[in-house]
Symmetry: C2
Subunit: 450 residues, 2 copies
């Protein structure tokens, strides 16, 4: 490579792709994004291939392996969440906008996960530029289906297990701690998604002529949702908590310390834009997010959606919901338990179709390994402050798969600012996190080699 | 008028107007429909005016009053419900389609209320054609805002009270009894509509990063709906049943007789297209529909509505619901009670906007007056069978207003077949009910004159 890549220009190029994996009509743009990545890797001197899958491509890039060096595996994803609702974006989601006062870049996928992934790539590129070689072998794997549960990754990893072997895996798809404090994430929540459809009458009915005599699918769906929690936010599905591994005492202490330093409650209130927080009694906010399972309704619809009134008893209702799970809850068992629980509550005259969505296990790691220490030092050096130990509420289901398949240490180093609006309108990335991330990655290459 | 009007051709013309009162964009077609009616009345020899209001026009038509004759006031409405969901119609809702095998005409507004209204008009036209004059004075009032709660009718009636004075009021906006049996309706349910919006976070949130720590507006909305009923279908709003006038013993007997003759349960199941009925324990199906109040969710929406999964905690949810009330429940009090009940249940971090919609009181009439007897005879003669006494579950809020303002007997003579799919896709009218309706109206003019 002759001239260094401009970090911002490259990031802007990357963010322009509407690589929305869940919407089939965007498949061509997802593929174009994979091809762009492949050529970027080639440009900085790595051997790269965008492997086709039955879904979206998986991009793998490698340095020429030196058997005397340790091997670092870096995972990221180039697919993004749908940008809807579009009207709430201050700038178009795929036309990256830099707010120079806030020092942020706004675009769908900016923090989740394009800028963090690119910080890794540019860290590698810069070290190669400056020193001609890397102190470790590097393997990048950037996939295009993380936002839909990585349906083709497991098979790919198994098939390419030998050539993807490494000493340590680094993933920066998590976030900084509340207050934008640097952190090593040692736990991720699992996920299990489902959609259900309550079907009642053959067609919408007049609510005067039938109201009171026929079960209303919207009412039934609402009652099913209401049955998920008690008034204290505790989940009521029988067996739901049976396999859950409780927190260690040091974890509750670490959560408390972080909450005090970061004023997490106030910070999270501001991020969410709510006056008051609400969750399961007996746990702090950071615990509710990182250490406790949850179930959220992601979408609900049925009946008249227009303006004014239409006095119908509608024929059906749909609900999309997803669980966030913690170690050692099994997502498949949870989906089955929920399914049985919902089915047992149906009144006469309605039927229930349940569709299981994507799922992945929670992950709990040891942050005190030698690689963990190396990462903490690199974070301290690049960000100038001691990193926290964090449980992240989000899910990266493939982390558990990586652990099973490769059996090596996994380091989760988050670069996304907590106010990045990930999955929401106006997703953004603090530019200093992006630039610090490039430096972090350069230091990390050195530290991991030792 | 020189040549008789062709009933079917006239009905088809009438049904072509998409006179959807709740959708502002259809206001010109609503007005066009009013003007068409005005000219139809003029064509058959009545004095007619389409009065503008702040909403949609009110059409009034009269014979030249003869002080020696009794005066019959006939009310109907020319506005219709929205036709959505369009994809479920077998033929376009505003392109009337006659199924010659079923002997039905399919179109939005066919049974509610254009064909019954037109049966009145054509009955008058035919008698005028055959005899040159009517045995009674007739006043027609056909409004364009029934489906949105007749917001301008009350004011209009008060303003024109003297010129609209009559001896008896006839309305055929109700239906035949189950089994398409002729009936006099002596009770109508009241209505009270409301919409509420649960607002939570300032924007949609990532369900991993916030799930479990912030109240989810969809979950809150679902819990509010679930709080409306107990598991026996009894409504839980405090005070809801306080003013309700219970049925007389003869009413429960009449309901039972009708249910036996018409096999109402089986009939209603087939109409609704459900395997089993469901409603408040302790009451039969006809009672649940006609004699008991109900609350139905008409629409519910929020969060991700697209295909696939979007793991968000959405910022808001909306619910449209409507009560059907019975005598002597006061709709305004009911809306206030419901509002208080809902507001008292909110968890921290969400707010509730409640918008009251249209409302109208229930109506309970005496079916044994001399005019009631005249109507029952006319029904028996035109349909060939003794009419039933019926409580109708639907609402015609202006019936209560008519009663208050004019203080005369009101006869509710339904022509809509119970399987007419009123308010639903594929609304239709049995042609024999329409033609019998014309005959019924001719006989009624004679009987009421006696």
């Amino acid at each position: 490579m002759s001239t260094p890549l401009d970090p911002i220009a490259t990031l802007v190029e990357y963010l322009r792709f509407p690589s929305i994996s869940t919407q089939q009509e965007h498949a061509p743009q997802v593929r174009a994004c994979a091809e762009w990545l492949e050529s970027l890797f080639k440009k900085i001197g790595l051997h790269a291939i965008a492997y086709p899958t039955e879904g979206h491509p998986i991009v793998v890039a490698k340095t020429i392996p030196d058997p005397k060096k340790k091997t670092l595996f870096i995972y990221g994803h180039y697919d993004v969440q749908p940008p809807e609702p579009l009207e709430e974006w201050k700038s178009p989601p795929f036309q990256p906008h830099i707010d120079t006062k806030e020092e942020r870049i706004y675009a769908r996928g900016s923090s989740d996960n394009k800028a963090p992934t690119l910080a890794h790539i540019l860290g590698v590129a810069k070290t190669l530029q400056e020193k001609g070689s890397l102190p470790v072998n590097v393997i990048f794997l950037i996939e295009g289906e993380e936002e839909i549960g990585s349906p083709h990754l497991d098979h790919f990893l198994q098939e390419h297990q030998a050539e993807l072997a490494s000493d340590v895996i680094v993933i920066s798809d998590t976030g900084m701690a509340p207050g934008n404090l640097p952190a090593i994430t040692y736990a991720l929540r699992g996920i299990a998604a489902m959609e259900f459809i309550v079907r009642g009458p053959a067609h919408d009915l007049h609510s005067g002529l039938f109201g009171g005599a026929v079960a209303n699918p919207l009412t039934v769906a609402a009652r099913l949702i209401a049955s998920l929690h008690d008034e204290n936010g505790h989940i009521l599905i029988p067996g739901f908590y049976d396999d859950l591994q409780p927190q260690e005492p040091w974890e509750r202490d670490a959560a408390k310390a972080l909450e005090q330093v970061s004023q997490a409650d106030q910070y999270i209130k501001e991020l969410a834009g709510v006056e008051e927080l609400f969750g399961e009694t007996g746990f702090s906010t950071c615990e509710r997010i990182g250490a406790r399972p949850s179930v959220e309704v992601n979408g609900f619809g049925g009946g008249y959606q227009g303006t004014g009134t239409k006095t119908i008893l509608p024929k059906e209702a749909f609900v999309k919901l997803s669980f966030r799970l913690v170690a050692n809850q099994n997502p498949k068992i949870i989906l089955e338990q929920a399914s049985t629980y919902l089915r047992n509550q149906l009144p006469p005259g309605v039927s229930l179709d349940i569709i299981f969505g994507h799922y992945g296990e929670a992950c709990l790691m040891n942050p005190t390994s030698s690689y963990g220490k190396a990462a903490r030092e690199a974070l301290k050096e690049s960000f100038g402050t001691e990193p926290f130990l964090l449980r992240d509420g989000a899910s990266i289901p493939i982390v558990a798969q990586f652990k099973k398949i490769f059996g090596v240490d996994i380091l989760l180093i988050g670069l996304a600012n907590p106010d990045c609006a990930m999955h929401s309108p106006n997703e953004n990335m603090l530019l200093r996190n992006f630039f610090n991330g490039i430096t972090l990655n350069q230091i990390l290459l050195e530290r991991l080699a030792q």
